[in-house]
């Protein structure tokens, strides 16, 4: 519904995407080839295919809607500008995700906050994977919350992670990129991705445990 409305509003003002409907079934590599040859409709189709994922990713990494919108625009602008540099040895999606992550991290660096944003490689990736709270969860613990509440819980848990952990988690577990693709996107080694992913998952698990632990266990924990 929403999408249709968006498209209708958009059709009223713009011309670029006209041929889109006939391109929806075409495979990515072919679209990229066409886009490189100057086929605007092909590029628009690529944008339409990935805009939602890129926006979601940027929102998760920047934790800020305005920044995410900037990142979204910058990503596709850069992709368009540098399309001739895309080698085709990786997926187009991986290529733009890399641009989007870099833009997002840059936003975080630029944002003036009192808490320092550590993005560098100095983050300790040692073995001190802490598990402080161990409590079983109920059957479908998320059912206890409204959609909106759940969104807030999941969002704030992600927000509490270090940016690089956040990026690894979102790419691997939300976007479902492979470990190798995530490593490529973030310029990390595979072992570094793995250790960050483990930590991110464990930290999120711990944060969510506060909300999702079995009702009975609650009383126990505070006794």
């Amino acid at each position: 519904m929403k999408e249709a409305a968006a498209r209708a509003g958009y059709d009223g003002k713009h011309r670029v995407q006209m041929a889109v409907s006939s391109l929806t079934g075409i495979d990515e590599a072919e679209l990229v080839t066409q886009a490189r040859e100057g086929e605007t409709a092909a590029f628009s189709e690529l944008v339409r295919r990935y805009e939602g994922k890129i926006f979601r990713l940027a929102q998760h990494v920047t934790q800020n809607r305005e920044d995410a919108e900037d990142v979204l625009q910058e990503t596709f602008m850069k992709a368009y500008e540098h399309l001739d540099q895309f080698k085709g040895d990786s997926k187009f999606y991986t290529w733009i995700v890399r641009i989007a992550v870099n833009q997002s991290l840059m936003k975080l660096r630029r944002r003036k906050t009192d808490k320092t944003v550590s993005l560098d490689e100095t983050i300790d990736t040692g073995e001190d994977t802490v598990v402080r709270e161990v409590a079983a969860w109920g059957e479908d613990p998320e059912q206890r919350f409204s959609r909106e509440e759940l969104g807030d819980i999941l969002g704030s848990a992600i927000e509490s992670l270090e940016p690089l952990y956040r990026s690894v988690f979102v790419l691997r577990d939300v976007d479902e990129l492979s470990t190798e693709e995530t490593a490529e996107v973030l310029g990390l080694s595979v072992p570094a991705v793995k250790s960050r992913l483990l930590r991110a998952r464990l930290q999120l698990r711990e944060r969510l445990t506060r909300f999702f632990k079995r009702k009975g266990d609650d009383a126990f924990a505070y006794m």
């Binding site: 929403k2 999408e3 409305a5 968006a6 509003g9 958009y10 003002k13 713009h14 011309r15 670029v16 995407q17 605007t40 590029f43 628009s44 944008v47 805009e51 939602g52 994922k53 926006f55 979601r56 919108e69 979204l72 625009q73 596709f76 602008m77 368009y80 500008e81 073995e127 994977t129 598990v131 161990v134 409590a135 079983a136 969860w137 613990p141 998320e142 759940l150 969104g151 999941l154 988690f169 577990d173 939300v174 479902e176 793995k194 992913l197 483990l198 998952r201 464990l202 999120l204 698990r205 969510l208 445990t209 999702f212």
Partner: protein, 81 residues
């Protein structure tokens, strides 16, 4: 014998099912004997599942139309060159 620390170290690969059968069997034996690690594995699996099932990636209409407008401008500028 596998320690809890060993188990945690393999947890991600275990949940992603990217380990060989032999190691998997060892890890599974560990969680039948260690309630803590069982809970950690179970709740971590649920964590991943909840995030995977999270909101779709539809884009707000206003955000999309501003993106398209910006791109159209960019494309027009390039075509003039």
């Amino acid at each position: 014998m596998l320690t809890c620390k060993d188990f945690l170290g393999e947890l991600s690969d275990y949940l992603d099912e990217t380990i060989d059968a032999e190691l998997r069997a060892k890890l599974e034996r560990h969680i039948t004997e260690c309630p803590n690690c069982w809970v950690i594995a179970d709740t971590t699996r649920k964590t991943i599942k909840i995030y995977k099932g999270m909101e779709s990636c539809s884009i707000p209409a206003d955000v999309e139309s501003r993106l398209m407008a910006a791109l159209e401008k960019k494309i027009a500028a390039k075509q003039q060159k």
